[in-house]
Each structure stands twice: as structure tokens, then as C-alpha cells.
Symmetry: C3
Subunit: 146 residues, 3 copies
Amino acid sequence: MNTEPILPQPSRAGGLYTPVVIHQGIAYVSGQLPRMNNELQFPGRVGADIDLATAREAARLCAMQALATLDRELGGLGRVIRLLKLTGYVACTEGFRQQPAVIDAASEYFNEVLGPRGAHARSAIGVFALPHGAAVEVEITVAVRE
Amino acid sequence: MNTEPILPQPSRAGGLYTPVVIHQGIAYVSGQLPRMNNELQFPGRVGADIDLATAREAARLCAMQALATLDRELGGLGRVIRLLKLTGYVACTEGFRQQPAVIDAASEYFNEVLGPRGAHARSAIGVFALPHGAAVEVEITVAVRE
Amino acid sequence: MNTEPILPQPSRAGGLYTPVVIHQGIAYVSGQLPRMNNELQFPGRVGADIDLATAREAARLCAMQALATLDRELGGLGRVIRLLKLTGYVACTEGFRQQPAVIDAASEYFNEVLGPRGAHARSAIGVFALPHGAAVEVEITVAVRE
């Protein structure tokens, strides 16, 4: 990361949980929805209401929220050692098979912003429904300097 | 936690896995279903067979099972340093959007029993089907004193 | 593990992620599909297109891919200290309830190959759709000697 990324306003937690928990150098970041100014963007199911390109925008916005939330917690992304794991959930129709192409937009963003520190293990899953009708949810685990 | 919580009998593992694995101060607790005396409670899909209030009872029971399982492994919850991460899966209909309200009942229970040690990162996901027709499944990762 | 297991060729990553990330003695292995020579095997949904026995073959193949991927990264499974956590996703019909029986085939394989080091915590989830139409996806977290 050579320049500071432009991050959105991190969203409020949508329940009785904590946005980020850090323990022994590992940051557990709560699942992020595609929100801008706390408003859900691109709701719907991929393959029905929204297409692949829109789903990718949603995934990228989830990734932006994840880093914005982490940035606020850490006081800057300079303390990030390495993104370890990303789990990407895609709300989709039964026949939809391109979950990896959707979640690649989140992976791309992490690689863009964090450079080599952004390389991560990943699982991509197609699910039935996500909170508030979101199309994508992204969760990350990150190694950080305490 | 000022008084010892009343915990249910922890359920038997429903497969070829271990209820809790502890390594370097992190306890990985297997996904818990809403069971009482090894019998599944509140089966069904939220939005169809069961309503939000019942789903919340199911989520709370999953959380009780998770702590009961951990308590048995640790010989007491005094060794819990901090709940780190909760993943909550809700078996629901396509239109159901209140997964966070369901999983909040689990979060609430952890906060009740563990106090400040119960604050946790979280993801809530709506899925198609859960083992044995359960409405909710809750999985936790916990920092513990070894 | 008394003899070296026969492992398949590990598959290529199907997106912009890293097959295995290792940090502080923990290996995060990306979600594995049932692939042989990079070709998806046993596609479909359990309960509709494929039956329990076939789904179990798929789960076992996911587990083989997970160990093959880890073996390549570590230069041998001798560096494995302990399997910590397995998350198993089963693409299934609404009425299907035997996700644990499917994922048991993966657990069985890990226990077979790793012996006591293969005992693990687990969650089994029924989902709507998996990448490329896979019937099963298996993700593991493993303690390793660095």
C-alpha cells in the first residue's frame, strides 16, 4: 500500500456484537454487508434480481466495509501484517455457479489495497438468504500488530 | 459472570468429530444445534414452520449448548478469557431477512453469562438446510487459559 | 500416519486467492471442491441429482484435496501438529437432513490419514449452491510446525 486508500464510513454493527475483536495478534472482523452510509446497496439474489457485474460491485463494497471497520479499530491499516482468510457468502439462485467470480471482486480489492499483505485463503459459498436481503456478505480474519 | 450459570446437559457429538479442540489458547467449539437432553428442539425453517420468537429460542439454546460443551471441556467457564467469534446459521425461507435478530438471542446469552468477556465478532447467514432439520446452528471460537 | 498416504494432484486455486496461508503455526486452507485432475467430480445437489453415498465420495475427495494442497505447501504432512477445525458445506435440497453423514466421510478420511492428529471440531451446513455446481465443499484450519 503506497497511498492511503479511500475508505467508506464504516457501518454500525447490526446487532449485539462487536465489529472487530483482536486477540493475540489476530483480528476477527464481523461479517460485512454491502453498505454505504449505513444503507444497504444492491439488495437481491444473484441470478434472479441482480447480475454478476452488480454482485461484484456488492462484493467489492463488502471488502471496503471490512477494511474501513478494521482501519477504524486499528487507527490505520499500517498495523495489518497479513490478510489470512476470507469467507464470502453469495445469496443466489439454485443454478448459479459463479460464486468465485463474485467473491474475486472482494479478493481483488484486498490485493489492490494491501499488496502482498492482501494474499489470503478463501472459501466461497452460495447461500439462500443474507441479512436484510443483502446479495453478498464478506468476513475476514487478519494478522495485525498489537 | 458473578454466579455459575445453569447449563443444559451438553449433547453428544453427532458425527466423527470432537466437540472442542483447544490449541495454543484457542478453543474451537463444534457447531451446536438447539438440543435438550440430546433431542432436537424447534425444528423447521424460519419464515415457514417457525416464527422469529421461536427461532430466537432455538438460537439461545444453541448458545447454551456451546457453553455447556465448553464448560465440560474446561472444567468451568472461569478459564474463558474471551469469546472471539460467533457464526450463526439460520435455516430460513427465501424472503427471510432477520437473521441478525435471530442470532442476537445467542449473542445476548453470551453477553449475559460471560459479561464483558462475551463481546464477540459475528457473522449471520441464512442457509437452506441444517443437520437433522434444525432451525439454527451456532459455532464459536473462544480464547481460553490452558 | 504410518505410511505416506496417496494424495491426488492438488487443484489450482479457482480465483484470486492463495491455496494455503500459514501464520504463527496455523494453516488456513482454502475451501476445497471434489476435484480430480482439476475436473469437478460428482456435481449436483444431494437429495435431488445425487444420493448420500455419492455425496460421501464427494466429501472424501474434498478432504483428499485439502491434504494434497497442504502437503504441497508444507513439503509433507509430517509437519501437521493437529487438524483443528473443519467446516463442511453440502449443496442439498430443502428436506435433506443428513449433512453430518455426508461430512463424516471427510472426517473419516482425516482420521484415517492423520490418526490422533486428525481429531477436529466441525460444523456441517446445508447450502443452496456451491462453486461450479459442486455438491460439497470442505475447509480446514490446521496447526503446523513452521
